[in-house]
Assembly symmetry: C2
Homo-oligomer: 169 residues x 2
DNA sequence: GCTGAAAATTACCTGGA
DNA sequence: TCCAGGTAATTTTCAGC
């Protein structure tokens, strides 16, 4: 997979990471390129798959989702059909906002958003524990989500790639 | 904090969650409201804080960030000044894309994105372990990020709120 | 990749329910 | 207070270079 992005593409992606609704014109002013070219580049980045999605981050608390957890899940039998059926299962559970297949002391790490403690308890008992084949559920309640919130750092990407390409020669 | 969103606001937020770059006109067609009113509502939702940010989700792998981990951190002394200095610390570390203060067997859960295993190792040794006061670091390598990807479910929010409001009377 | 015109979208203002 | 319509301003798209 060739890396064929230039400095302008990377700057463009940086701005889009910060604000997905920025106009092509505003970007054009910041990276010194015509609005036209900015639009074309954005479309190209979308088509080639560099941009996956534009999402809106909502204030969960104000929307009555006051509880967030990371819940570690361990399956009883870790064969591939069980792994796959669990992955398929989580797709249809709205409370699960992210699902990560991990190594180590858990098989999966789920990010879960619920209204409150009672709602989470109901979810555990009536939804998650209904899935056979779970041996362990361990909840990390999120007390505070903070710091970071970093988008991925693209500023040093170009030089890094240059080094990688050199190494390949 | 009064909950003064109506069905239209919730539908609007749902569409914005899926696609932050959707135009007011496209939303207007979907929720049967004039483009004009849609714009006004979006602005109001931004001002009142229901909308936190519009972000672009990039393809990390294509941008040479092939490794993701969740790394559990345990501090030696859990007093408030140590907690705060750790939170302050993570703000300036670009590899840390999210930081969650949690209860249980870790104090913090960090989501980390790195180029590859070597890069992650360098990060652990040269950056994270440089922070005094860490007693335990446990890495969950993300083998696969899948399923879910759910935005928060707003479809049943209205009825839920009605119930809550009833309960308060 | 740029320019310039046409098309589409958004912002603003006013009236009406 | 909230919504619709009309107009102005901005932004995006498309053609030609």
């Amino acid at each position: 997979m060739p890396f064929n992005l230039d400095e302008l593409d990377l700057k463009l992606l940086s701005h889009l990471q910060e604000n997905a609704r920025i106009s092509a014109k505003d970007i054009s002013r910041k990276i010194h390129l015509s609005p036209n070219s900015v639009s074309i580049r954005i479309k190209r980045l979308e088509e080639r798959g560099y941009i996956k999605q534009y999402v809106t981050v909502l204030n969960n608390t104000m929307l009555n989702r006051k509880l967030m957890t990371f819940t570690g899940v361990r399956l009883i039998h870790n064969n591939s059909s069980n792994l796959e059926s669990f992955m398929e299962y989580v797709k249809y559970v709205p409370e699960i906002t992210s699902c990560y297949h991990v190594n180590g002391m858990f098989d999966f790490l789920l990010q879960i958003v619920a209204t409150d403690m009672q709602d989470y308890r109901d979810f555990l008992i009536n939804t998650l524990a209904k899935f056979d084949n779970i041996s362990e559920l361990r909840t990390f309640f999120v007390l505070n989500e903070m710091g970071a919130g970093h988008a991925i750092d693209l500023t040093h990407l170009r030089s890094k790639f240059k080094r990688d390409q050199k190494r390949m020669n």
